[in-house]
Every structure is written in C-alpha cells, then in structure tokens.
C-alpha cells in the first residue's frame, strides 16, 4: 500500500502540471466566488421624495445586514438593472415603493420585507409625532425615545436554534461559498480518481496483480491518494476563504475542516462508483458533470433547500451527500452546532461513502 502511494507521489512529481493547474484554477475560482459573496448585496435606489425623507428611509433601510441601499439617479439605476449588474433597483415614493427588476430571484422577497418595515417604522413615528404635537409634547425627547424603543421592551425575545444554543441567522454569503466549493471539489476529486481507470486500461493493474501487492492494497492506496489530494485542495480553498478573504466562520473553522473529511470521502466513493459503471474515459467525462451539477442543485448548493417545496426533489436530496455536507457546514458555522449534532450529517456522508465505495469497487473489479 505504501509502495502504491509512493508510486503515485512520484508520478505526481514527474508530471505535476495538471494538478497545479487544477489547484490554481480552484483557488482562483474560490477568490471569484468569495469576492462575489463578500459584502452586502448592493441595491440601487432612486427616489421621488425630498432629500430629507429619502435620507431617513435610507438610514432605516441600511440597518439591514444583507443589503446596502445606495442612492443614485434613475437612469443609472435602471441601466444597472437592464445590464444585469444588479438583480433589482428600488424606487421610493410617498407611501409606495417599486422594485424594478428584470428576472425573478430570491432577493425580491427579502427586499420587499425590508422596504415594508422601513416604511412602516417611519410612518408610525410620523403619526405619533404628529399626534404628540397636538398634546404639546416635546418633539425632540419623544423622537429620542422612539429611536431607542428597545429600552422600553416589556419582555425580551431570545432566539435559539432547534439544535444549538446560538440563534440562527440567514447568512447568504457562507451559503454561497460553501455551495460552490463543495460543488467544484467534485470535479477535482473525480479527476484524481479517474486515473485508475486509465491505469486499468493501460494494463498497469494487470502487472500489479502479478506483483506481491495485494488487491485491497491497490484499492486503498489509490483511493487514499485521491482522497488526500482532494482534501488538500478543499483545504486550500477553505484557507483562502478564511485567511485570504477573511470570511467569518463563527469560530468554527476547525470544525468545518473536519466535516470536509467525510464529504471528500463520499465524493471519492461516488467517483469510484461512476468509474465502475462507465465503459471508458469519455463516458466518465460525460457522467461526472451531470452528477455534480445535479447533486449541487439537489443538495442546496445553488439555492437554500428551504425554497424548494417539491416533495420529490426533497426526497431525492436525502440521497445526495452534498445535502449533508451543506447541512453540517452551515450547522457548524452559522448555527454553532456541537459535535453531537454534527455527528448525524457526518455519519450519513460516511455511510453513503461506504455503500458507494463497496458497490463501486465490486463493479470496478469485475471490469475486464
């Protein structure tokens, strides 16, 4: 087994270019994805209100932690929408707001709620201040009170997750970053695993069988090698997010690194299963993108699974390791879940990995 690993490493040393290119591509990709998801989503705003009213609204709106509302003139804002630089722009008017968009997207309903709340708060304050005037109450002190309403709470609301003590919050940045890294890693891992298909075809395996190396050692050696390379690459990507782009992992970076172990294992397993089913490299190259893209869609890498209500899709998502990978990564970071809770998704990934790898090796072994 060790000798197989040695051979593999030597091969890598001799021809490292593919590996280097893939790794660099992946890190570049990570930077792109990270940059895409870093910071708040900018929403252009144009207005028909007076400057002071607009400023008040914008101030209220910009308490949002998902969006940043920026005032600009109408043409510029519309131009950004038409050229798809932004998903939507907002037009503010008296007691009404318009969301200008070209295609439907997930952000629309979130912006809708934020607009509604901002308008309602201002409206309420205005009504109260107006009424107060007729009572002859000092406007300034009342305004002060209204702006610090939380001091007057009769009761407090404490939020917790079902599984964890911390309150969950919607963090679309991490959702995006995790989704795309888990998705892209499938390609690089599959690329590493597939080398055994070529080796088998070229007769290297036949010669190895004649050597004292045992069969299980051949498999373990090869898969371990693919696993290590794949894991190294994901690790690099996560380090880019953590140290290069300064993403907030909520202090659970180490946990995420551990969660990636069963995930990479399950992807190695899927790759060997596919390698066992397909006839040649071309077919492998056909099937792998199909599997990775559909897994990413089903597993919630592109959009949170919550917005999916189709029972069929939700059922299918239960059989995809990526679902559990996302669940565990989000659980560890955003919801601050502990190890006991994380054990379930990690266990599921391991279980799937074991099943896939078992079936995969059997199929692969039977191939001529």
């Amino acid at each position: 087994m060790v000798s197989i690993l040695m051979v593999k490493c030597k091969m890598l040393m001799r021809n490292p270019w593919m590996f280097i290119v893939l790794t660099v591509a992946m890190i570049g990709f990570a930077f792109l994805v990270g940059a895409n998801f870093s910071g708040k989503v900018k929403v252009p705003v144009f207005t028909q209100l007076s400057d002071s009213d607009t400023n008040e609204l914008i101030e209220q709106l910009n308490t949002s932690n998902a969006f940043e509302y920026i005032v600009m003139d109408e043409d510029e804002a519309l131009e950004q929408v038409v050229s798809n630089e932004t998903a939507l722009a907002v037009q503010l008017a008296d007691e009404e707001a318009k969301m200008v968009l070209t295609s439907e997207g997930g952000n629309t309903s979130l912006v809708y709620y934020e607009l509604l709340t901002a308008y309602q708060t201002l409206e309420r304050n205005a009504t109260i201040l107006e009424a107060a005037e007729s009572f002859g109450i000092d406007r300034v002190s009342l305004e002060e009170r209204l702006n610090n309403l939380q001091d007057y709470n009769i009761f407090t609301i404490e939020t917790q997750g079902f599984q964890a003590k911390d309150s969950p919050m919607y963090d679309s940045r991490l959702q995006g970053v995790f989704g795309f890294s888990l998705f892209f890693v499938i390609y690089t891992i599959a690329f590493n695993v597939v080398s055994i298909l070529t080796e088998k075809k070229e007769g290297v395996w036949d010669r190895m069988i004649l050597s004292p190396v045992r069969k299980w050692e051949m498999y373990v050696g090869n898969l371990l090698y693919s696993f290590m390379l794949g894991y190294l690459q994901v690790l690099l990507v996560f380090c880019v997010f953590k140290f290069g782009l300064d993403f907030n992992f909520y202090g659970s970076f180490l946990k995420t690194v551990v969660i990636l172990i069963p995930y990479v294992f399950s992807i190695v397993a899927i790759s060997i299963l596919v390698a066992g089913i397909v006839k040649d490299m071309t077919q492998f190259n056909v099937v792998m993108p199909l599997i990775s893209v559909s897994m990413a869609m089903l597993g919630g890498a592109y959009w949170p699974l919550e917005i999916v209500s189709s029972k069929l899709i939700l059922l299918m998502s239960k059989f995809v390791p990526l679902t559990y990978g996302m669940e565990a990564l989000k659980g560890a970071t955003i919801y601050g879940q502990d190890w006991v809770t994380l054990l379930y998704p990690m266990g599921m990934m391991t279980l799937m990995g074991v099943v896939f790898i078992g079936v995969g090796i059997r199929l692969f072994d039977r191939k001529a």
């Binding site: 200008v100 409206e123 997750g161 792998m288």
Partner: protein, 421 residues
C-alpha cells in the same frame, strides 16, 4: 466541395455515437427538469408559498399567572382604586392570549402561517420532526413577570424563547419579525406613557397606512421567470460540450490515422479544420434548437420573437464553432491524449458557465459575464424575453461574433502545418 463531404462524414460519425445524445441533450434536459420541479412553486406564486409552521408551547397557565399577579397586587401598598383599575385591565392585556387570538390568527397571516398550540411534552418530538419552522416557548411565570413589568415596572424582564429551525431560515425569520413587531407595540406604548401620552390618542389606522410595494420591470417589459432564466443558463452551458465532443472525435481520428488518410487523399488540412468547425456550428445550433423546442412543448415557455432567438442561436453556434476548432487544433498540436479536451470539459466549461451566470445571476460581477460568449448569449436571450429590439442585443451579438472570429483565427495559427510522424 470537399468540406461538404467531410461534413457529411462528421455528422454520420457523430450520429452513430450514442454518448453524444446523452451529453448534449439528455443532460441539460435532466437538469432543466430538476430545476423545473424545484423552482416551479417559487414561480407560480411569489412569496406566499413560504409557509411558516409555528408551534406555541406554554410551560405554565397564563390564567394562573394572571391570578397570581392580581393576588399579589391586593397585598401591595397600592391604593385600592389603582388596584382595581389594573385588575380590570389585566384580562384584555394577557400577552399570550393576544398572540394566540390576534397576532397569529390575523387574516393577513393566514396564508403564510400555520399556528398550533402544543404541550410541553411534545416539545422534543416537534424539534425532531423537521416540520416546524419555529417553536415559541413561553417559560414558567412569563405572564406574571410580564404584568409586573407592564404595570409596576418591577421584577425581571421576562424572556420569550424563540426556537428556530435551522433548516428553515427564511420562514423562521418571518416569524421573528412578527414577534419583534409585537414586542415593539408594547415598547411603544410604554415609551409614550412616559410622555403621558396614551396609544389611544393615536389613530391606529393611520399607522397601518396602505403602503404599497410593487414589483415592476423596467419600462413595463415582461419579467423573466426563474425557469426561463435557468433554461437558457443551462443551454448556454451545455452547448460547450458540443465543442469538446467534436474535438475528441477529431482527435480520435488522428489517433486512428484517419486524419492521415484524409490528407493522403489530397484534401487540404484547412478543409479538414473548416469541416470540424462547421460540424460544431451545425451541432450546437441543432442542440440549442431541440432544447428550446423541448422547453416550449413541455414547460410552456413562450418565445416572444422567434427570429431574434434564431439569430442569437446562430451567433452563439458560430462562437462555439470557434471553440471546436481551437480545441481540435490544440489537441492535434500537443499530440497528448485528450488532456486539453478533459481540461476544457471539467474546468473551463464550469468557470465560463459560472462567470456567464448559468448557475447564478451575475450580480456582483459588474458585467464580466457578458464578455464570455455564453454570458453574452444568455444576456441576449434574456433581453429577447423582455421584448427588447435588435439594437439592445447588438453588443452581445458582436461579442459572440468576435469570439468566433478570434478563436477560429487562433485555431488556424495553432493547427499543425506538418503532421509529425
């Protein structure tokens, strides 16, 4: 003349290969269908599909709490009149009752909220089933503490526990918002009290003024649905596989010395490259056509302007023919197995698709996407669906055209002039 013959040969060879149908047609159709299923609800009705399942768990009876408060009140040093005043006000102010009967039972929320009262024993079961969006846990003595705060301003502030399902962030956020509003109402009246002003003095109906927030497209053009977006997103991604499939076929021909024999028959290598590029053009056009037809027939996607769609498809196919020729040239030049094609299939396509917005609207990219051929095509298709005219899409057409010309040019430069033995 020769190009026609070679073209015919290419088409026959490719048609014989069943993989090509899987990769070019089945794959995008499967993916679009998944998308169709997954997103269909999101499309039909806008945000109202989101249903929050709210469970309320009380650890003590609110009535007993209120009773206890009134008994304590009678023991207190307050004047009898004030005692009575408070005691009569209490029944109308019980917070949990208001929550149950007014806040969550209101008509506006009916559509989005399913409200249920559960007993504390059921708590762990509810948590385990993934059904619930949130559980509102009312701790023991909540109402007692609440009333003490409200009327006497003493004791500790009670805590309402909101348990949110980690898997249902959006709907549980909605409930959080509702509760925060509820909380704010009390805070507001407390704040006003300090100014000796009562909530009654304010016209409540004024506050809930009709604020209208509408969705509108630019210049009243149609809004592109999520399904349409992803149909074209996926199509513009999978069209790249035409290039890689044909390039690997060409490479196989070189490997099998078919290419050498073609050269021996006095056909120029440029005819060969042109035939490969033309095959790319024809296949990508057919692939896109079949995919769009499929979408129209099975998913009821309506195409506003067929001629524009066809022209964009031709331009996109032209740039794909550039990719086909370039990939073929690269793999002929390097002579190394299929490494360029593999690389293209696994890395380049994914990155281009990502940049072009096939997976995700390209919001934060500040328009890098439209400089990729697939991104430009996607934008152009979307503009067609918004019923823009030719002028609006001309820039994107130019981008695709330039890609085609530059890539074909590169292919000619790179394609080996002398076949190495």
């Amino acid at each position: 003349m020769m190009i026609g013959q070679l073209l015919k040969k290419n088409i026959f060879v490719l048609m014989r290969n069943k993989h090509i149908f899987v990769i070019l047609l089945l794959m995008p159709i499967v993916l679009i269908s998944i998308l169709g299923f997954a997103l269909s609800d999101m499309m039909n009705q806008e945000s109202s599909t989101l249903e929050a399942r709210v469970f309320l768990v009380e650890h003590s009876s609110e009535k007993a709490d209120a009773q206890r408060f009134i008994e304590d009140l009678q023991q207190s040093a307050l004047p009898a009149e004030a005692q009575e005043g408070i005691a009569t006000a209490v029944p109308a102010l019980l917070p949990i009752q208001i929550l149950k009967e007014h806040v969550f039972a209101s008509e506006e929320l009916q559509e989005n909220i399913m409200f249920k009262i559960a007993s504390p024993d059921e708590l762990s079961n509810i948590k385990k089933s993934e059904d619930a969006s949130v559980i509102i846990e009312v701790p023991e003595g909540f109402t007692y503490q609440f009333l003490q705060q409200l009327f006497l301003g003493q004791g500790e502030k009670p805590v309402l526990l909101l348990l949110q399902n980690e898997g249902k962030q959006i709907s549980s956020g909605m409930v959080e918002e509702i509760l925060a509003n509820f909380q704010e109402q009390y805070a507001l009246s407390a704040a006003l009290q300090e100014e000796n002003m009562s909530m009654q003095a304010i016209n409540q109906s004024d506050m809930m003024n009709n604020i209208t927030i509408t969705e509108e497209s630019v210049d009243k053009r149609p809004i592109v649905s999520a399904l349409t977006y992803y149909t074209f997103g996926m199509s513009t991604m999978f069209v790249f596989y035409v290039a890689s499939s044909i390039a690997s076929m060409a490479f196989l021909e070189r490997d099998n010395h078919v290419y050498n024999r073609i050269l021996l028959s006095n056909v120029s290598r440029w005819s060969y490259v042109s035939s490969v590029a033309c095959t790319g053009l024809i296949f990508s056009f057919c692939q896109l056509g079949i995919l769009f037809a499929f979408m129209v027939i099975f998913y009821g996607v309506e195409i506003p302007d067929l001629s524009m769609l066809v022209v964009i498809t031709i331009f996109l196919s032209f740039s794909i023919s550039g990719f086909t020729a370039l990939l073929t040239a690269l793999s002929f030049r390097s002579g190394n197995a299929n490494s360029f094609v593999d690389m293209f299939q696994s890395v380049v396509v994914t990155v281009l698709a990502f940049l072009g917005g096939s997976f995700f609207p390209i919001e934060a990219f500040k328009g890098i996407g439209q400089f990729t051929p697939n991104g430009a095509a996607l934008q152009a298709y979307l503009l067609v669906f918004q019923e823009y005219d030719w002028e609006a899409i001309s820039g994107h057409m130019l981008a695709m055209f330039i890609y085609g010309v530059v890539l074909l040019g590169l292919a000619v430069v790179i394609f080996p002039r002398k076949e190495r033995a």
